[in-house]
Point group: C2
Chain length 458, copies 2
């Protein structure tokens, strides 16, 4: 009974909170529209503002919904936080895990509380090990074509059925979507359903997985992590690998928002490229400490909320932790990090999905950017769980549209298209022919240049 009343009260508070959010949102929207009228910009600054506002209000990566309303508790960690503030420039390395671990009550963590969390034994010569292996294994080259690195796309979902009955259906459509893009672009897929490290559950689970895959697959040059709620919407766009020849880590984001503002959505870790090498192992090691479940993650969350702009109150998430890491250790990592915004390596769905018809009218696949986004990412929708940040109906409807938008580019190869962006059904748009090899699909995706590799059958 108490639980019911508590839940009811929670919902009332949440509704009131939501109403306030709407009011504030409307005010901000007015400001932004005025800015847009006064100062022109591309998808640049006003749109950026809008995206930022919406992201800020809606795309919280919450581990559990009830955390929205948690107040920051005054604990000994505040002293700790206070000490940090007085110590000058906040340094990620000074995030004192040891202190937290010693202070905390035992919560069943498996590792020695006197030792910080580790993703695995320290390796310092991975570049050398890898280089040697590649020489000895010429049949597993790390480049499969000119300017074409071997890429492994990594994604995954829970091994449990979704709480929401249709959630698994959207996971299925999402992986089909990735299978299609990757087949066209000569990319392999690893779909993970195993929790390799119980301490790094939730959004942090990708870290042990990524490390494991990099070390197991030296032939992989780039590991492309992609969330299960992100879909490819430009099947013709090839990542400009050459652009990143001097970079090791590519995320969608903006330098100013990360390094100047320390904005918690200054970058997105839902879709990123990580080059295999020592540098990757090092940044994974530097990234991991805020992840371990329990007190460490909670306390880290407070630090992040305090230090980052716009971040709500909830436990540490990998994205915020990366913003913090880069902002506080720019000199160490910044040179090899490319914050890409010339195309949508990650594209926030909220500002894209209502424009699909306009895109079809005015543009074409292959652009990858605001005109035809490479990736539409349904942050905050959580189709697999029970509670998301948006209405279920809007999310699912838009996910169907995004899926069909991308799927149409596959279907047109074979002479079909969806009857509408809302429809599962397909219709023929090109007649069958007795000379199928003379057919050129409009997008040239049948036998794309970026897939052709010279293979020796000897």
């Amino acid at each position: 009974m108490d639980n019911c009343l508590g839940a009811q009260r929670s919902r009332k508070i949440q509704r009131a909170f939501n109403q306030c959010k709407v009011t504030i949102f409307c005010l901000l929207l007015t400001v932004v529209v005025l800015r847009g009228t006064i100062g022109a910009g591309k998808f640049g600054t006003p749109g950026q503002d809008l995206a930022e506002i919406r992201d800020h209000l809606y795309s919280r990566k919450r581990a559990e919904p009830h955390r929205v309303l948690e107040e920051v508790q005054t604990t000994s960690s505040d002293e700790h936080a206070g000490a940090d503030a007085n110590a000058g420039t906040n340094n990620y390395n000074e995030f004192d895990i040891k202190k937290i671990l010693v202070d905390e009550e035992s919560d069943g963590l498996k590792h020695d509380p006197n030792e910080p969390y580790s993703l695995g034994p320290k390796i310092s010569d991975w570049d050398e090990q890898r280089s040697r292996w590649l020489k000895e294994n010429p049949k597993y080259p790390n480049f499969i074509g000119p300017n074409k690195p071997r890429v492994l796309l990594v994604t995954g979902s829970s091994p449990k059925p979704c709480e929401n009955p249709v959630g698994d259906h959207y996971l299925l459509k999402s992986i089909k979507n990735k299978i299609d893009y990757c087949r066209l672009h000569g990319i392999e897929i690893f779909y993970n359903m195993a929790l390799l490290d119980a301490e790094m559950a939730g959004f942090w689970a990708k870290l042990p997985l990524i490390r494991k895959l990099l070390l197991s697959h030296p032939e992989v040059e780039f590991l492309w992590w992609m969330d299960s709620d992100a879909m490819f919407t430009d099947m013709a766009f090839e990542v400009p690998w050459e652009r990143y020849k001097d970079s090791n880590f590519v995320m969608h984001g903006w330098n100013e928002m990360v390094y100047d503002q320390k904005n918690w959505i200054g970058l997105n870790t839902g879709s990123f490229l990580l080059r295999n090498g020592q540098w990757a192992l090092d940044i994974l090691d530097a990234w991991a400490p805020m992840g371990p479940k329990g007190k460490v993650r909670e306390e880290a969350g407070k630090v992040l909320t305090r230090e980052l702009k716009g971040r709500p109150v909830f436990e540490a998430d990998d994205q915020s932790a990366m913003v913090y890491l880069l902002a506080t250790q720019r000199e160490k990592w910044g040179e090899k990090v490319y914050l890409e915004n010339a195309y949508y390596l990650h594209g926030y769905w909220g500002i894209l999905v209502d424009r699909y018809e306009e895109m079809i009218e005015n543009y074409h696949p292959g652009l990858g950017d605001h005109r035809w986004p490479l990736v539409t990412h349904f942050v905050g929708c959580k189709p697999c769980g029970k509670f998301g940040d948006y209405s279920v109906e809007r999310c699912l409807k838009q996910m169907d549209r995004a899926f069909n938008f991308g799927d149409n580019q596959i279907l047109q190869i074979y002479g079909f298209t969806h009857k509408s962006l809302a429809s599962r059904r397909v219709k023929r748009v090109r007649n069958e022919t007795g000379n199928p090899l003379e057919v050129k699909d409009e997008l040239g995706l049948l036998h794309p240049a970026f897939k052709a590799v010279k293979v020796s059958s000897s």
Copy 2:
């Protein structure tokens, strides 16, 4: 109300029918056990009998459950059937579609009723067209290694969410399973969710899809169709491509059961290999006529039930139609059809899933046969629909076990395994190391020989 009473009566009849089946099954089982005691055999004849019995009783491919109890109607098609019987050897080509189409009432079919159904414009020079294209496109060879044809694995499911809430979760696990096998074996995947031809719905939908893919992808040497309810359970087994160098169509089955007995489960079309070429187009054209929805499919079903051994009453399915085609036109097709039973290109789940622990105890991956089946195929389970031929609980539980059985072979590459075949959770079985490249996974699946291809990066 009438519908409810009708449904109740149906269920009572079905229960009685099921009880009779159990009795008959027990009797047959006794016979088989006696045979097994008297005459030894491999998984050969007694096991074959058992599989046959079980398949016969349980693995009906029904389009809809109520068809189980339909009586064969006496109609003009009986005259037609009678005429066929009097005409001597039944010939698939004499299956008189024209007559049926002319007789039938309009049921909304799109094509001209005076013309038989066609998968597309007749092509007679596909081998030449394809050969020319391959010469002109050396970057898309049909062989990607010595004795290694380019293979496209084709599978799919409905674009609608499953009626059964957990159905999509099993489809998701099934495609992950296929992604894993195909990644290891250098095979590409096409996951279909589009109904290309409304007339060829249900199990027949694969025919237009297969034809379309063969003609669009001349670089594909073998198309591997695999049902969504079939899973890979031997990750180390490579199909013996050399064995099929003179064959164009490989299905699991037995010559005697198809050609001598015309047994409707003499072969299985849930997992098969089809070589790209004119021969494939021709057999698809010969296969298709029994497929068109409505009167044609119904009447064809009656022919098949009458002509094939053990077939229950329901509309024509692709598998029965193939048995009939081969049995009645052996001289035309038989030489290029390889009915494989040395390993489980398709493995009926009923006789496999309870033996996984025994397999783990006594054998190892790489065998592909009854000792460690390549494919475990959950015929009759229908996890996506509402009604299957087996208890939902048994099906889902066994599908979890089969998935984990296969998944363990992937996880062991990375030093993990499921806690048990029933558990989603994984545990570590190999410690992390500072020299990951010295690790040899037991099965040699990390960098398998059958995947290595010599790639030129020029």
